[in-house]
Amino acid sequence: MFRDYEKVFMRISILFSFVALALGGLFGFIQLVSRTPGFPRLVDASGYYTALTGHGVLMAIIWTAFFIMGIAVFVMVSELRVNFRKTLLGLTLVLTLGGTVTAAIPILAGRASVLYTFYPPLIGHPLFYIGLAVVIVGTWVFSAAVIDVFLRWRRANRGVGIPVGAFGVITTIIIWLEATPGLSIEVLMDLIPASLFGKPVDVLLDRTLFWYFGHPLVYFWLIPAIVAFYAIMPKLLGVELYSVKAAKLAYILFILASTPVGLHHQFVDSGLSFEAKLLHTALTYSVALGSFVTAFNVLATLERAGRARGGGVFSWVLKLPWRNPVFAGLALAFILFGFGGIGGIVNASLTMNYVVHNTLWVVGHFHLTVGSIVTLVFMSITYLIFPVVFDRNIFSGSLAKIQPYLWFVGMFIFALAYHIAGIYGAPRRVDDSSYMGLSPEIWSPLLQIGAVGGLIFWLSGVIFILNVFASLKFGAPATVNGASLSEGSGGEQGDEPTIFDRLSIWIIVALILIVIGYTVPMMEIFSRGLSPVEIVYIGG
């Protein structure tokens, strides 16, 4: 089913994502220990912000993007039985790997400690921005490769519904293509010229462009995880997904409203009107609807599987295969996703946002989302697809069984403590929050409890990384083949296409919503005239 070059592509991108995860995890460990009162300070302030930038870029962009590319090839080929074009995959790897290495050099040298959100007028070394721009171009090439596969499948399968996994991959790509223009304009028009020639920049405009990209980025991470729930989990449990149509509805809601919501990261910015902020709040809630629809669908599927195993009204929960690391990881991540989603509603509410903006609440929130529903799900998928992609079994099955639980427990403690500390105002992104002893006394114990949780899930990450790298060398020859995994995966193939399968209509609606959502703030920014300010070089 997989061509050799597709296997090579999956191996390289997935292995590289593990390297990013390992290095990003090391930075996370350094941060966690250094910023917690009573823990040894491993680095000075400069080292802290280097680690913070590295952790953000590696985890938010490199780990997710490379793993997603690998899994996207896996899902597209196994569901649609159409192969990728070799040149496009090759070019993708050259650009994304080259760009990542280019950007990594100034980060590691401490010359780009501007954090992954950039936030000019702080400006780092040009190679940081140029490297990331090349990565983005690489992802566009990959997007073209996926669309090419999809269109060839569609031409040969007129009048057939899109299988639910491939639908998710296409959704991911559409969201990525909606989002990246914002980042590209910021990097090309402002950040690279600022970094090379000292061009003054308008900070509000750049923030707005960044968050135009920054929020859909969240859905770019999330959709592949949701693909696992819709396309992989039912197969794992031997049942059908509760509702294919609702799954597609959720995807469409994500396509429609993931982008014109970026202002919810800017609720306390001056220079943007209340009306624009309210509009983005309302649109954010409609994306939340997609998550709620997903929650129902997944829980109903789980219940169906539990009842098929003889469970009753409540006991179906216990009948599920909790000893299977793939299932356990998915299910535990799903529980954390529930908490992350409810916290997200708070973040998106423009008046409650005052209380939590830029506090540790936010850190707790995105460790439940990108750190759990995404990362823990990707780890679980790894246990499933590793034998197919790398032709070897996972080295230690018992470590794999413990690992998701360790992550769950650690993350739960970490996120709970950080959410509470955030309500008490403890700030994020700071190397030391003692403020000469003026900080509230409650911060220290909460940070310390958070650090204990952080160390527990960090340990889980170490176990995962050691286990997968050991599997490459010592794993037994694979006993699972690709065909058995994807059998029946096209269960929806042959189904009647729904209204949601008419992607071009939804893409047009999405573009209209983006235009509406961003015309208002952009008119406000440009109509009063830009006010560019001098840039401030960092670490140079």
């Binding site: 400690s113 509000l204 709620f292 629809v293 005052y354 992104r429 403020y435 003026l438």
Partner: protein, 153 residues
């Protein structure tokens, strides 16, 4: 989609509708985030033109102009006597900063080129000091950027 699922979607959509309605309603009574305030001068001229300092407008009403810069606030000790309503106006002369009074809802971004304005009604019974911090990364000395707000009765 069956009827349970449709019902679920209706319930969730209605709940989210109520949330939005609540936000609009409380905005009507004045809980609105800082918006649409622009500065008429360049950050480099701020010290002369912006005039950091405390101005009492009588009857417990204050206007406090604060200049934020790497890595301090000016003034960095703000003393207010029996304040009822305080209008903070914060301006950055260099990079992005934050302005957060810990233990209150005052928490806004300070964007160079724009004045951030927020009105605060202090709790009537509070006496003592608040910690004010910059909560947006602004460079290597970020953790040393804080001020003290003292309320006297």
């Amino acid at each position: 989609m069956d009827r349970w699922e449709a019902l679920w979607i209706v319930i969730v959509a209605a709940t989210l509708g109520i949330f939005i309605g609540t936000l609009v309603a409380i905005a009507g009574v004045g809980y609105i985030p800082p918006s649409e305030v622009e500065a008429e001068y360049r950050p480099t001229d701020a010290v002369e033109e912006f005039k950091p300092g405390i101005r009492s407008l009588g009857d417990g009403v204050y206007e406090v102009n604060i200049l934020a810069y790497r890595f301090s606030f000016q003034p960095n000790k703000i003393v207010l006597e029996n304040p009822k309503e305080v209008r903070f106006r914060i301006y950055s002369s260099d990079v992005l900063h934050g302005f957060s009074i810990i233990g209150t809802n005052v928490n806004i971004m300070v964007i160079p080129g724009y004045i951030s304005e927020i009105v605060w009604r202090p709790p009537p019974d509070f006496e003592g000091s608040y910690l004010v911090i910059c909560n947006e990364y602004c460079g290597i000395g970020h953790s040393g950027m804080f001020a003290e707000l003292v309320i006297k009765r």
